[in-house]
Amino acid sequence: MAKQVYYEDVEVGMELPMLTKNPTTQQLVMYAGASGDFYQIHYDKDFAQGNGLPGVILHGLLKAGFVGQLVTDWIGEGGTIKKLGVSYRGMDQPGVPLYVKGVVTNKYIKNGEGYVEADVWTENQQGQKTTPGTTTVILPRKKR
């Protein structure tokens, strides 16, 4: 695991370490099983195309899971996630890389704890933010 990031280490405008995902149809089947979302647009190509989709598409919540991983990888064992929110703006298909990114937007001390806010999102190969979102975390503070 990466070195623990502290509240003092972050600056507004800093980028979170990017995560690259390479979703496969197999992954969509695994996610359906693990989450209980068996909607066929995620693994049955004929069904998906019959619904006007180009092919099977990623579950929105799977993308939310990717964004969640971006955040938990960044905050490390010492950080605590307080809020996470995403909007589903674009479809993503398996077989192409999906980039998961974030940027720190705010930091403040509240009740003695180091709060940090960031914009987080999944981004496709065309540079579109298909799943824009935000997060609020608490990062540990260095010993004073």
Binding site: M30, Y31, G33, S35, L61, G65, L84
Partner: protein, 154 residues
């Protein structure tokens, strides 16, 4: 037919009355295998949700659930069964707020409710937004998380 420019609300009194109604509580045991399978499906190797021995050495004292794991804990949807005027649906978004970590072995109770209904005119025409909320509490009665979903119907 309403004239162009007039707003005819599709939200009936019956629908308004359903706001705030809660479904029956549903309790889930948080199982190690389910947490690992979920983490593996996302492709997230973090030991906190994969490796009990490593997770035990952390401040959590054991495996905990990743942030979107709550979507696998189904609630009672009965509270949200209202007659919706539009049949087309899009998942608009999900948000979570976290209060306490959830450990493998915890018993988490989910209560679902219809949180809000509102209309917007937009690119898809008249849209009815259906906001549902799940509240999760653990076996100690502590609220561990809440989740809200925005369903766009049109």
């Amino acid at each position: 037919m309403p004239e162009e420019g007039t707003v005819t609300s599709v939200i009936t009194d019956e629908m308004k009355a359903a706001i705030g109604k809660k479904g029956k509580p549903v309790t889930h045991l948080i199982e190690k295998g389910a947490v690992r399978r979920f983490a593996q499906a996302i492709g997230d190797p973090n030991p906190l949700w994969n490796d009990e021995a490593k997770a035990r050495k952390t401040r959590y004292g054991g495996m905990v659930v990743p942030p979107t794991f709550f979507c696998s804990l189904a609630g009672d949807p009965a509270a949200m069964r209202i007659n919706l005027p539009y049949t087309r649906r899009l998942n608009g978004g999900d948000e979570w707020e976290y209060f306490q970590p959830v450990h493998v072995g915890d018993r988490i109770t989910v209560v679902s409710e219809l949180a809000d209904l509102y209309e917007r005119k937009g690119s898809l025409g008249n849209m009815l937004f259906v906001i549902t909320k799940q509240t999760y509490t653990n076996q100690f009665g502590e609220k561990v998380a809440i989740h809200k979903n925005t369903l766009i119907t049109y």
